[in-house]
């Protein structure tokens, strides 16, 4: 028992570290850690679960306060950034964390039903996924009204850029995502910081749970976990524009979706043997029976609770520091930090991708349309994949 506690703490620390540092992902760390430490199945699953959940929750801090996107949090950057600028940064963080923990509890309660539903949906999903994605994309673009063609144009620009950046031999797609999303959603937001703008410190936070938002997020996360070829970023782009009302609602749904997708990836692994995430890949050598799944859930809940407390404290510290600074100057420091990080993690090629992505990220602002149209970067390559032309694109780019 003590050894499980130790590995849970160890996993939480590594997960926190990976979540707070932009560009670092547990997927990179799982195999590194497992190559130097030999663990038994119980220790393995407790460590992996703790690291995964701690990473998800602590990731909200750089995404909200530094506008640093991760593929799993990219859609929450825009509403999160809006809330931070209005002085509701603490509330945004509290909503995200509370929703994540609530989603975990609801998933545990709904586990028997999920174990029955998942195999059936998984069996039929491939046949309708392309129609679903294209329908949602066009539905989203139609919400732009008279700017439909401009939105489609920018969607295609970011989509083609996604094909180029994610399928080239310059850099692996996992490495390309960080500079690309940082440019498309992070730096392109920070460039519009106005002089004299300050982020106010809203003091004590009072949040009200939005169960509907959490349920929508859980369903979205289950869909992202089951449907092949698409992830949280595509699902959030598709679903959240139709079912969500305001920034708090979006943040709550996104946080629930992040947790649900992580949990589902393990359940899908258990039921079908298919690997849908880095966590799934790390656990793929284990025989996942009901006892291990329950231990997995227990570790998730423990990690979520402890990480939540740490992150809320950290959030308070960060808000009190940045509320005294001029936001434009702060934004410039963040842009410089992000550029250095991109260069350190991905080299000259990453900087090249960052710069072009930033200019593409500015286009929706220029043409006065929703910035989430740049999700074409991740969605369009998925459409091409399901049409079956990815191999042609890869050959063209060699």
């Amino acid at each position: 028992m003590l050894d499980l506690l130790f590995f849970s703490f160890f996993g939480i620390v590594i997960g926190l570290f990976a979540g707070l540092l932009p560009g670092l992902h547990p997927n990179q760390l799982y195999f590194f850690v497992f190559s130097i430490i030999v663990l038994n199945p119980n220790q393995f699953i407790v460590f992996a679960a703790s690291m995964a959940i701690a990473n998800i929750i602590s990731n909200y801090i750089p995404s909200l306060f530094l506008s640093v996107p991760d593929p799993n949090t990219v859609t929450s950057i825009l509403p999160g950034h809006r809330m931070v600028l209005k002085g509701f940064g603490k509330k945004a963080l509290a909503i995200s964390i509370f929703s994540a923990i609530s989603a975990l509890i609801i998933l545990l309660i709904a586990l028997p039903a999920i174990l029955v539903i998942v195999p059936s949906i998984h069996k039929f999903s491939e046949s309708f996924i392309l129609v679903l994605i294209i329908t949602f994309v066009f539905g989203f673009l139609l919400t732009e009204g008279k700017n439909f063609f401009i939105a489609l144009f920018i969607f295609l620009i970011s989509g083609v850029w996604g094909l180029l950046a994610l399928n080239s031999n310059l850099i692996s797609s996992e490495k390309a995502i960080f500079p690309a999303l940082t440019g498309l959603f992070g730096i392109s937001s920070l460039l519009f910081a106005e002089r004299g703008m300050k982020i106010s410190n809203e003091g004590d936070v009072d949040i009200k749970p939005n169960i509907a938002a959490i349920i929508i997020g859980i369903i979205s996360g289950i869909a992202a976990g089951i449907l092949p070829g698409i992830g949280e970023s595509q699902i959030s782009f598709m679903i959240l524009h139709f079912f969500t009302k305001n920034d708090e609602y979006i943040l709550s749904s996104m946080a629930s979706m992040n947790i649900a997708n992580t949990i589902l990836s393990v359940i899908v692994l258990m039921l079908t043997g298919k690997v849908r995430s880095g966590l799934g890949a790390a656990l793929s050598n284990l025989y996942l029976d009901k006892n291990l799944i329950l231990l997995f859930f227990g570790a998730c809940l423990f990690s979520a609770g402890l990480t939540a407390v740490v992150c809320l404290l950290l959030g308070n510290i960060i808000i009190s520091k940045i509320s005294s600074m001029d936001y434009q100057r702060l934004s410039r420091y963040i842009i410089l930090l992000l550029s250095i990080l991109v260069f350190a993690l991905t080299g000259f090629v990453g900087l090249f991708i960052l710069i072009i992505s930033t200019f593409i990220g500015i286009l929706p602002v220029l043409f006065k349309i929703k910035r989430s149209v740049n999700m074409g970067f991740l969605t369009f390559p998925v459409i091409i994949y399901f049409i079956g032309y990815t191999h042609l694109i890869s050959r063209l780019l060699v």
Partner: protein, 118 residues
Amino acid sequence: MGSERYGEWAFLAGSLLALVLGLLEGLGIIGGLGQIIPLMLVFFGLVVGLTTVTSKEIDSFLLATIALLAVSGIRIDRFLAGILANIFVYSLNNLTYFVAPAALVVALKSIYKIASSR
């Protein structure tokens, strides 16, 4: 940020990227990249051309492009050798990859403008 300022910055960024990449390729720091860098520069040039360059800038833009394309046709290896020649060739080539698509789009806009005014 208005369209003109965006256009200025995007064009400057693209040109600098082309030159810096040319320098890095010429020095051998990045290499063996096949067609992907030119493709990305062409793509960025298309984006810049499609989204910027207002009517009043068309003529000067096209003139600058013609001058650039003329310079890139010079056989620089007759005057420089080794790394310097590589840097010059790669930089100019990259600049051409970026500017030419933008020029194509701008030229098409110019033709359309002429045709629609008649």
